[in-house]
């Protein structure tokens, strides 16, 4: 499976890369929404940080939606409640940093299953 990760924090990015590879996935790393937008390749899953410099994670997903690039997506965020609430799209799982491996795997299974159901 190919997993794309968008997070501006290099430590988090590196750690996710290491874990996902250890789990047997291919990983593509992006430091910002813009970087992902211009450079995205086919992926099975997107792990997207909400708080980003420039375009944030929510805006990136809206853009993807409008561009017809629907991808099973998991939001991750280090904020408490600040960005949660009304702005959060329905049905997108959101992981609060720091999160466990199991939580991540469960969310990935969940969204990929979902999308495979909906993608048809």
């Amino acid at each position: 499976m190919i997993v794309s990760v968008v997070d501006d924090d290099v430590d988090v990015r590196t750690a996710l890369n290491r874990l996902l590879r250890a789990l047997g996935h291919d990983v593509r790393l992006f430091a910002s929404a813009e970087e992902f937008a211009v450079n995205h390749a086919a992926a099975d899953c997107l792990i997207l940080d909400i708080r980003l410099p420039g375009l944030n994670g929510l805006e990136l997903r809206e853009w993807m939606h409008s561009a017809g690039l629907l991808l099973p997506t998991i939001f991750i965020t280090g904020d408490g409640e600040r960005f949660l609430g009304e702005g959060l799209p329905f049905g997108v799982p959101t992981l609060h940093k720091p999160f466990d491996e199991d939580t991540l795997i469960a969310a990935m299974t969940d969204v990929i299953g979902d999308s495979s159901e909906r993608a048809v």
Partner: protein, 692 residues
């Protein structure tokens, strides 16, 4: 008997006819009173000058009268003795008093010699009397003057001196009434001096009159500053306004001389009044001059006495009103004298410290600055001030000493108890510190979301790396390289989280920080690290332009971080309504004119121009949140660091806050005056405080 009587000369045989004639001419031409007495003491001859001097109608008034009968009392005794001596052939002299037939008092210098006949038998006595009244009078007057000067010198009251002076002059001028008038300090009005012989009604009538060109003799003399001689008040224009007053008091003539100070300022006048129209004689003018001089000396001396007394009284009043202690010290630091309103309050009793030196009495931490201040004031001549504290009765008391040279070779030290002021200052410092702490807590509260984010990143990295490591352990073959990298990242992120916590801990800590050499670029980096997530959340882009190499300042790192934190959060807040593309913040450091500058520029709503100073006042805020203490506290911190902070609106939009702090390479603090002590005390390290 040839010279027995000149009168009978023609009847007598003349043996030396020419000599005889010469003698007669001499006697008749003499200005002295010359008489011949027979051996019974009767007057047998009186020369023409004698007739005139004695106010007689002719010689016959005295001829055949016993000469001694004109003398009285002690003068009779002196005259009898002289006659008796002359009868023995001796030349006898005496000075005696004898009024003329008209009653004019006269003093006489009398010489009696015997007149002999051819057989050397004494047949008559020749009496030559010289009028010495004037000489005696002048001698008396001079003696009187000396008496006056003595009175002045011994500090007699002015009215007593002036009264004596007038009486002295009156004694020596017949029929004269003297008067001293004083000129008021206003330089216009007449004040009573002394006029013991003039009627009180006259004296009180002229009291308070204004001087002027027609203000009687005295008022005019004072006005013109020169003597005014009025020989008849009935015709002189100077007396026009006072004529009736003069007539009512039988005044007809009056001459007045202004009394001048040594600075040629008119002090008053000395005047002589007469009941007859009269012009002054030369000796009277001289007397009035002398009297005016003496009066001048008396008045000036009294003024000087008064000024001295007033100044002494003033000094005493100041001393009494002064709560400070005063010590007179010798140049060697010996206590010579002291003043204390309540000597019981002195820490050391006077009988212990008097006669001892400052080194004997004071602890070295007090004696040393005192000795330095003494040395300083002896060199500069300017007062030297320093503060010190002494522990007494288990309480710390604070004093301020001001040291200045006095009395040529002594030192005056004025010591003030400033304990109350000091305590208030220290309370204020504590309050300010607590306020500053509250401000930091509040600031960090605002940042809490961002700070949680700042912590969650390394914690996430740690957890994910740990999971990854566990996965790596169970893989075959084990990728040890990757495993080590995961562990390294765990360690690094743990440190990262630890440093965020440490920064928070420092900022949240209550109490004293300390002064150290600080690089403002580091402050910028530390603060921006903390606020990084907040910028992201607020969608604010940040640029920094940091001076390199940077010059150091000497300061409290936490307080300086607090200043920047306040400025940055203010800037963020001001841009909350700015469109996202314009939300830009720039932090700049620079060095200029010996100062290090740190600026924060935003592109927010700006501050009304007339409020650019007011924003630093407490409780003034343009933000929705916050107490309005951030900028006020920031300013007090910057001031305590010897710097300043200003706000200015940018040309296009937004505001720039700029703080300037002095460059300080070696951490030494310039001595500050004691006035800035309160502010300097905000610097918590004792070494950074200099009380001079």
């Amino acid at each position: 008997m040839s010279s027995a009587t000149l009168r009978n000369a023609p009847c007598r045989p003349v043996e030396q006819p020419q000599f005889e004639r010469l003698g007669r001419h001499l006697i008749e031409a003499s200005t002295d009173c010359v008489k011949l007495l027979d051996l019974d003491g009767r007057v047998v001859y009186l020369n023409p000058a004698g007739v005139e001097l004695l106010d007689l109608c002719g010689p016959e008034d005295l001829i055949n009268r016993p000469w001694l009968s004109v003398w009285e009392g002690e003068h009779y005794v002196a005259a009898s003795n002289a006659v008796a001596r002359a009868r023995t052939g001796e030349r006898a002299t005496f000075e005696g008093f004898c009024p003329t037939a008209a009653g004019v008092a006269k003093w006489w210098d009398v010489v009696i010699t015997s007149v002999t006949d051819d057989s050397n038998a004494i047949v008559q006595l020749l009496v030559v009397s010289r009028d010495i009244t004037e000489r005696r009078r002048e001698a008396d007057f001079r003696a009187g003057q000396h008496g006056m000067l003595e009175m002045i010198a011994t500090g007699a009251a002015l009215d007593a001196v002036l009264t004596c002076l007038v009486q002295l002059v009156e004694q020596h001028s017949d029929g004269m009434l003297g008067s001293v008038l004083l000129l008021d300090k206003d330089g216009v009005h007449l004040r009573r001096g002394a006029a013991p012989s003039l009627p009180e009604s006259f004296n009180s009538a002229i009291e308070g009159a204004a001087i002027g060109p027609r203000a009687g003799s005295c008022g005019t003399a004072m006005y013109l500053g020169r003597p005014v001689i009025v020989t008849d008040v009935l015709v002189d224009p100077a007396w026009e306004d006072y004529r009736e007053l003069a007539i009512a008091h039988h005044i007809r003539a009056c001459w007045s001389t202004p009394i001048m100070s040594t600075q040629k300022k008119v002090l008053g006048s000395f005047a002589m009044y007469y009941s007859e129209p009269r012009a002054p004689r030369r000796h009277e003018l001289r007397m009035v001059d002398v009297a005016a001089n003496i009066a001048g000396i008396a008045i000036e001396s009294q003024q000087a006495h008064k000024a001295l007394r007033q100044s002494e009284e003033r000094n005493l009043a100041m001393l009494r009103a002064n709560p400070d202690w005063m010590f007179i010290l010798g140049r060697n630091g010996m206590f010579l004298d002291y003043y204390a309103k309540n000597p019981a309050e002195l820490l050391v009793p006077p009988d212990v410290f008097l006669g001892k030196t400052i080194w004997d009495i004071l602890p070295p931490p007090v004696a040393t600055p005192l000795a330095n201040a003494i040395a300083g004031t002896l060199v500069s001549g300017e007062p030297e001030t320093f503060e010190y504290s002494i522990e007494a009765d288990q309480t710390q008391r604070f004093y301020e000493a001001c040291v200045v040279g006095c009395d040529d070779d002594k030192i005056l030290s004025i010591v003030r108890d400033i304990t109350d002021r000091k305590r208030a200052e220290m309370d204020a410092v504590i309050q300010r510190r607590e306020l500053a702490h509250l401000n930091r807590v509040a600031t960090l509260g605002e940042l809490s979301g961002a700070l949680a984010h700042e912590l969650s990143q390394p914690l996430s990295a740690i957890l994910i790396n740990a999971h990854a490591a566990r996965r790596l352990l169970s893989r075959e073959p084990m990728d040890l390289e990757e495993l080590r990298a995961a562990l390294d990242d765990i360690i690094a992120n743990n440190k990262r989280a630890g440093s965020v916590i440490e920064r928070l801990r420092v900022l949240l800590k209550k109490g004293d920080g300390f002064f150290e050499t600080v690089d403002l670029n580091d402050i910028v980096k530390e603060v921006l690290d903390l606020t990084h997530s907040d910028f992201l959340a607020r969608r604010i882009s940040v640029t920094t332009s940091l001076m390199s190499p940077m010059r150091p300042v000497y300061g409290d790192r936490v307080q300086l971080q607090q200043v920047l934190l306040n400025l940055v959060l203010n800037a963020c807040e001001s841009m909350s309504t700015t469109e996202v593309a314009e939300r830009h913040l720039s932090v700049t450091t620079a060095v200029e004119d010996g100062m290090v500058q740190m600026s924060v520029a935003d592109r927010g709503v700006g501050i009304p121009d007339d409020q650019l100073t007011a924003v630093f006042e407490p409780f003034v805020t343009f933000r929705e949140h916050g107490l309005g203490l951030g900028l006020s506290i920031s300013r007090s911190i910057v001031l305590a660091h010897g710097g300043q902070i200003v706000a200015s609106n940018n040309a296009d939009r937004g505001t720039t806050f700029r703080c300037e702090l002095p460059i300080n390479e070696d951490g030494r603090v310039e001595p500050r005056s004691s006035r800035s002590f309160a502010i300097a005390s905000l610097s918590p390290e004792p070494g950074a405080v200099s009380s001079g």
